[in-house]
Amino acid sequence: QDIAGFNIGILGGENAQDRLANHECLKTYTEEALGVPVKLFAPADYNGVIQGLLGGTIDMAWLGASGYAATYLADPEAVEPVLVKINMDGSRGYYSIGFARIDSGIASLDDMEGKAFGFGDPNSTSGYLIPAIEIPQYKDGVTMAPGEYFGDVVFTGGHEQTIVAVNNGDIDAGVTWADGQGAWEDGYNSGALRKAVDAGLIDMNDLVEIWRSKEIPEGPVVLRKSLPADVKAKMIALVDGMYDADPECTYNISAGESLGFDPIDHEAYLSIIAARQSQSE
């Protein structure tokens, strides 16, 4: 069967206008490859793209791992993961980093008893799902229910807001994402901390890392399952081969340096899905 158009949903920490601009090259390539008009959508939060995928109005997106799990749990037949970004060192993961202000005297989760802790967006893997599961494993007695171990647990709304909130002292510690490469004082090579440093919002001397998750798999590029097989094949080939064909465009769509994309499948996300399901209970 044929398709009349192709819609790409894009997420990420950059502002919408930059995101759209960065994906303009992908749009051009896709139009060439599929011969149909392509539209880009940059909704404000994960939920917008997830709803689009579930409703069948968005054909392709690059989701976070938790976002994929949410989509899968809502409708296993909606999308399939096809590709994942490869980092400069060849890894396919990143970390959730817990951090606090250095002058608060907090050095680890042990010092967080009775203090306020902040997550980002509930649909974020590193900003919520993984720390929500792994932090309680830190030691006995740690739970994520407000008022039990932590004095309060809040959602700040996103990585950027978490950083500002911790820096301001609104909350005592929070979690955000980083690639874990490079040095703490630079805010690592990439991630939300690095962006805040570059923007002049924070001084890494003021902050300290208090916790780090296990490696989190990068979120997959997903395609709607009901797309025609040839469309899927063309798109996979296009994105997979992008790094060789147009490194500049790869840089743009992966929001930084990377080694391009590699194929991946559903199995890689089983643990995340299980984690998400356990959080839903």
């Binding site: 819609n7 949903g9 539209k39 959508f41 939060d45 994960y46 939920n47 997830i50 709803q51 689009g52 579930l54 409703g55 069948g56 109005t57 968005i58 949410a70 749990l73 809502a74 967006d121 509930p122 649909n123 809040v154 959602f155 700040t156 709304g157 807001q161 500002v164 909130a165 301001n168 609104d170 399901q277 959080q279 839903s280 209970e281």
Partner: protein
């Protein structure tokens, strides 16, 4: 018999022709705008209108499916979220109160015939226009950046917008106020504040009050919405529950019922009070 009045006939037919032409052109333009606007929006949307129409109830169905087995937990959830609801209502009430008080001052300052400094009327009007034009969400986000999350940024943001919105309505009310009492008070050597308080306020208070109530209703909704961007209250809880999706829709449903219930409650309450005012202050 038509002879002496031919020109009446002609002039009327001219009028009719002109009116039909204008009316027709306006109608055509409007229909064209609407139709092409719809097609454009449809084309720019991810999903088309006609394809989406049958799926309109998918999302509510998901929510219901998720909530139905956990119906017994709803009252518990509601109780749990009640403090957030109260926070939302407090935000709206405070913002309406502060906004209305400032709007009163600004509206008096910008009403011809009442203004303390007639030359500055334009300035105060522009001020209100701008306050009205800036969306609450913008101010809230800026303030969250400076003050941190919580109810205060939302309160200030809503109050700011309220000043502009109510200020305009209030000054329309003021314009219809009878100036005779004001002049009478001016002639005894009273100050501006006394003239306003005794001469204007008693005349316009019922109308001010009814507009302020209407605004309060709107502000309850606005403060719930600002919760979506981290300004606390019930909106924040709703957003978290909604965007998690499957698994927490029961919480979303509970919050939704709370929020909707209180909006309807205030709506009914305020239209009740306003009707009462309208009838009492008939003249």
């Amino acid at each position: 018999m038509a002879h002496p009045t031919t020109h009446h006939h002609d002039s009327y037919f001219d009028l009719v022709r002109r009116k039909r032409l204008y009316g027709g052109v306006m109608l055509v333009i409007f229909v064209l705008l609407l139709a092409s606007g719809f097609r454009l929006a449809d084309a720019r949307n991810a999903g088309g209108f006609w394809d989406g129409l049958p799926k309109v109830f998918d999302f509510p169905a998901d929510v219901v499916r998720d909530t139905a087995p956990k119906l017994d937990q709803l009252p518990g959830h509601m109780l749990h979220f009640l403090p957030s609801l109260i926070e939302t209502i407090n935000i709206a009430a405070t913002a309406t109160l502060i906004g209305a008080l400032l709007a009163i001052v600004l509206s008096l300052l910008s009403t011809r015939g009442l203004a303390r400094w007639p030359r500055l009327i334009g300035l105060f009007r522009r001020m209100m226009d701008i306050m009205r034009a800036v969306p609450e969400i913008v101010i809230a986000l800026v303030l969250i950046f400076v003050l941190g999350g919580g109810p205060v940024p939302a309160m200030i943001a809503i109050a700011f917008h309220t000043v502009g919105a109510l200020g305009k309505l209030f000054s329309e009310v003021n314009e219809n106020a009878d100036l005779k009492p004001v002049e009478g008070l001016a002639s005894v050597g009273s100050r501006w504040g006394q003239q306003m308080w005794l001469g204007v306020v008693p005349q316009v208070l019922p109308n001010w009050f009814s507009y302020a109530l209407l605004r309060f209703e709107i502000n309850v909704r606005a403060s719930a919405i600002l919760g979506f961007v981290g300004a606390g209250g019930i909106g924040y809880e709703l957003k978290n529950a909604m965007s998690w999706g499957q698994g927490r829709f029961d919480e979303a449903a509970a919050i939704f019922i709370l929020l909707f219930g209180s909006i309807v409650l205030f709506d009914q309450l305020s239209s009740h009070v306003r009707n009462g005012l309208a009838h009492k202050g008939g003249h």
